[in-house]
């Protein structure tokens, strides 16, 4: 009895009481959250437009506990939703009401750092930044750096195959991941990879990275460490015209220079970031490029001069090279806080489309047209080097019907990205938010080949349910073995 009587929703009523007893046997009391107000804290992530209160929340502290819970959930056919820090912008950690949320944030130990192998092995709930901080004084870092790196966990990064500003040079999560320990839907513990390069047999790690927790629950990961460059400094280039900024990026890359990062902000975005960070961004330009290069002081100077030379063809109205580490940090602080800082002004929907660089100017123009047609303001912030756009569409969440309208506007933008030869998500993942937009990119056979993999790892489709795939198509696949919709459904 005790706390279990406080589970009062209609779903919980259908769950056999022995489930709670079995869970209680493998968990300490404070690892199980059943009261309504506790479960509510876990009903959503960084995409608050979606929220569903889970059946319960469990806070495991070891892989064995995760496995034990997964085994119990398997016996009772309970869906499991893994969660790290809940920073997903795509609703990746939003549960369904019959699910148990497995929150791995207590698994935050760094298990091993091995400079000979240049690897770090960490528990799932270790934050992205914590890895870099742990090895910083020894001259190493972990390369992928999503803007939420302060808070987001490594397992969340693996689930979404997260990128970041610096992945232009260093790649995204999948390029920096060497091994995982993973609990399967039925509670087995599997290991993939190791402190060595390349897979033994099929490359399961490439499936696990970006599978959004749908294939297993990652509890440990081994990632590559890289040697820190001698130094790094950004340059700010402001342009009076967006096209010039886009062309400048293409020219820099075309000339054979790969900076570690090329970030783009348009006027509304610059204003917001500047107000928060006081980074000294110019407020009178239409587009701002933040380009970072690495190396020794002399190497940096040479590279920045070369970039300046190329940029001068496009008449930048503002040029500023960071001269100190503090200045560089402030400049980055502004950019990395962009999403949150936008919250000072308005609610927003953050898009994550990717386009071929050569289509930049036309796509940006069309984005502004689309938003205008919906009467939404938009601020554009993105990783220009790899064409990953983050238009932030501002809207009033308290106004009835606005959420639906802003999602429609966003869908149009993503369709535009796919038509331009790109994709609907570059680093945030599909989650709930974009699952029904997936047919923009994939057809039935594409889905079948992906869903078969899901089916193999998770035959009952209980892991992070209702994510990634369009709901109707995944239902059709589970019913008939094909995601092809019947005429009624299509």
């Amino acid at each position: 009895m005790g706390i279990f009587t406080t589970v009062s929703n209609r779903v919980a009523a259908k769950v056999p009481r022995s489930l709670w007893r079995d869970l209680k046997e493998v968990l300490k009391p404070d690892q199980l959250i059943l009261d309504e107000s506790g479960r509510r804290a876990y009903e959503t992530d960084a995409l608050t437009a979606y929220k569903v209160m889970p059946l319960a929340v469990i806070m495991p502290e070891t892989t064995e506990e995760v496995a034990a819970v997964a085994e119990i959930a398997h016996r009772y056919s309970i869906p499991l939703v893994p969660r790290g820090a809940g920073t997903s912008l795509a609703g990746g950690a939003v549960p369904i009401e019959t699910a148990i949320v497995l929150c791995l944030s207590r698994m935050n130990k760094i298990i091993d750092i091995d400079y000979t192998n240049r690897t770090a092995t960490v528990e799932a709930g270790v934050t992205n930044l914590a890895i870099s901080q742990a090895v910083d004084r020894d001259g190493y870092f972990y390369a992928p750096d999503p803007s939420s790196q302060l808070a987001c966990t490594i397992a969340g990064n693996i689930a979404m195959n997260s990128g970041g500003a610096h992945c232009l040079k260093y790649g995204v999560t999948t390029h920096n991941l060497l091994a995982v320990k993973m609990v399967t839907a039925d509670g087995q513990v599997l290991e993939f990879g190791g402190s060595f390069f390349d897979p033994i047999g099929y490359d399961f790690l490439s499936l696990i990275a970006g599978s959004e927790g749908g294939l297993g629950i990652v509890t440990e990961a081994t990632v590559m460490l890289r040697s820190k460059p001698e130094g790094a400094r950004p340059i700010l280039l402001g342009f009076d015209d967006i096209d010039a900024a886009g062309d400048c990026v293409a020219e820099i890359i075309g000339e054979g220079i790969i900076p570690v990062a090329i970030e783009f902000m348009d006027r509304p975005a610059i204003k917001v970031c500047e107000e928060f960070a006081g980074a000294g961004y110019p407020l009178d330009v239409e587009a701002l490029l933040l380009i970072e290069v690495e190396g020794s002081d002399e190497e940096i100077d040479a590279a920045l001069q070369q970039i300046l030379r190329i940029a001068s063809k496009f008449n930048p109205s503002h040029k500023r090279i960071a001269t100190s580490a503090e200045e560089a940090a402030t400049i980055w602080h502004g950019r990395k806080s962009a999403f949150g800082a936008m919250g000072r002004i308005s609610e927003y929907l953050c898009m994550d489309g990717v386009i071929p660089l050569s289509k930049l100017s036309t796509v940006l123009e069309k984005i502004s047209e689309i938003c205008k047609s919906y009467k939404f303001e938009v601020a554009n912030i993105f990783h220009a080097g790899d064409g990953n756009l983050h238009p932030l569409i501002m809207y009033d969440a308290n106004k009835p019907g606005e959420i639906e309208r802003v999602e429609k506007c966003g869908a149009e933008i993503l369709e535009l990205c796919v038509l331009a030869g790109g994709c609907i998500t570059g680093e945030h993942g599909v989650g709930i938010e974009k699952r029904d937009l997936m047919p923009l990119q994939f057809d039935t056979l594409d889905f079948d080949n992906q869903m078969r993999i899901k089916q193999l790892f998770d035959p009952d489709w209980r892991l992070n349910p209702n994510k990634v795939f369009p709901l109707k198509m995944s239902q059709a696949f589970q019913d008939t073995g094909s995601s092809l919709l019947s005429e009624d459904d299509a």
Binding site: D35, S105, R106, L150, F339
Partner: protein, 449 residues
Amino acid sequence: MKTEFTKRQLRNDNLQMANDIFRRCVHCGLCTATCSSYVVAGDERDSPRGRIYMIKEMLETGSAPDASLTHHMDRCLTCLSCMTTCPSGVDYMHLSDLARVEIEKRGPRPFRIRFTRGLLSSVMPYPRRFAVAMSLGRLARPFRPLLKAAGFKELAAMLELVPKRGKQSPEFKGGGVARPRGQQHRRVLLMTGCAQKIVRPAINDASIRLMARQGIEVIVSQDTGCCGALDMHMGRESAAIKHARRNLEAWQALEDEAPLDGIIINASGCGTSVKDYPHLLQNVKGIEEQVAHFSAKVYDISEFLADYNFGMAEQWTDLNVALHLPCSMMHGQKISYQPMQLLQNAGFNIHTLDEAHICCGSAGTYNILQPDIANELGQRKAAHIARVKPDVVATGNLGCLTQMGHHSVYPVVHFVELLDWAYGGPCPDGLEHLQDRVDRLAKTNKRNK
């Protein structure tokens, strides 16, 4: 975030304020990572974001605070680290104040906790009562295990923090005026801290000497009292307002005699509260101007002294100082560089600590009310200190000083004590073993000259 207040609810000033705060929050979760309770508990409900979400639910539905919200609000240290991190500028401080008042009024709390909180509120802000309690506490110290076994872990924690030996400073006697020897430049009031003047009066002595040497007339008034922070953190708003108004009256009386150039605070926990008087007293009609007038004069001692040129230190030491900026300083008042700059100018080698933004666990009365998390944070801080292997740890608030002194093997002092020492004051209590080294260094230097 979307909110669901009715128009009628929004006519309430408090709910309107809360609504504005919620609308700014984008639920991004960055605050979780730097939250002192979340790093220990790893639970959304022990993070600012989780608490904001639970407070929102409570206020929107107008329901009474439940056990879960109460529990997790009580576990918040009010270190305000989240406010430094938050890019959206969510005012967690005032939202949590609001929630605490609500909880204090209507929240479910067991008798044991209410008793402890009541005890703290009626003793700590009153120096005489506090002094008596300390003497009794020393006698009761040996009974800690018994109390713990009986389930009174908060009382046990309270006794744990009572210094083993009592030592009244010979110099600091309470009220009075310290007039500088030479020409007088400015006139300030020093707030002396309720517990501080009993537990480590040397901090006030050092502050007075340090300022007087710079030609500042320092007043210590018997009429000023507790700043109200302790009550505010426990959700006892009306008690806090009473304390604040009493101080205002005392300041006004002094100002009527002659203009005050500053109200100086050397316990940063108090500083955060005093600087927030305009908000605390916003509903008290007719005193707005007075509040604004005085709040513009409130300075942490490090802020006030930052512009002074102290010249060469009298005792130039090579001591390695681990600097721990209290949360109330760093996050509450956004004081970042001043203490470090002052100490460096005085010839100390400053080392910053890893996880500097995380609380040491003191947090006012937190280490009494939440001993488990407080102990874990204390040990965590001690480990970071140990990595630096300093000669001494410097901080800017009595609470941190006591907490770190309890957990760390390294001596902990207030930074004004180090400054005062460097510019001619006595060796701070607990650093006697370093005086020899400093003297030797001075001799070598002289020889070399």
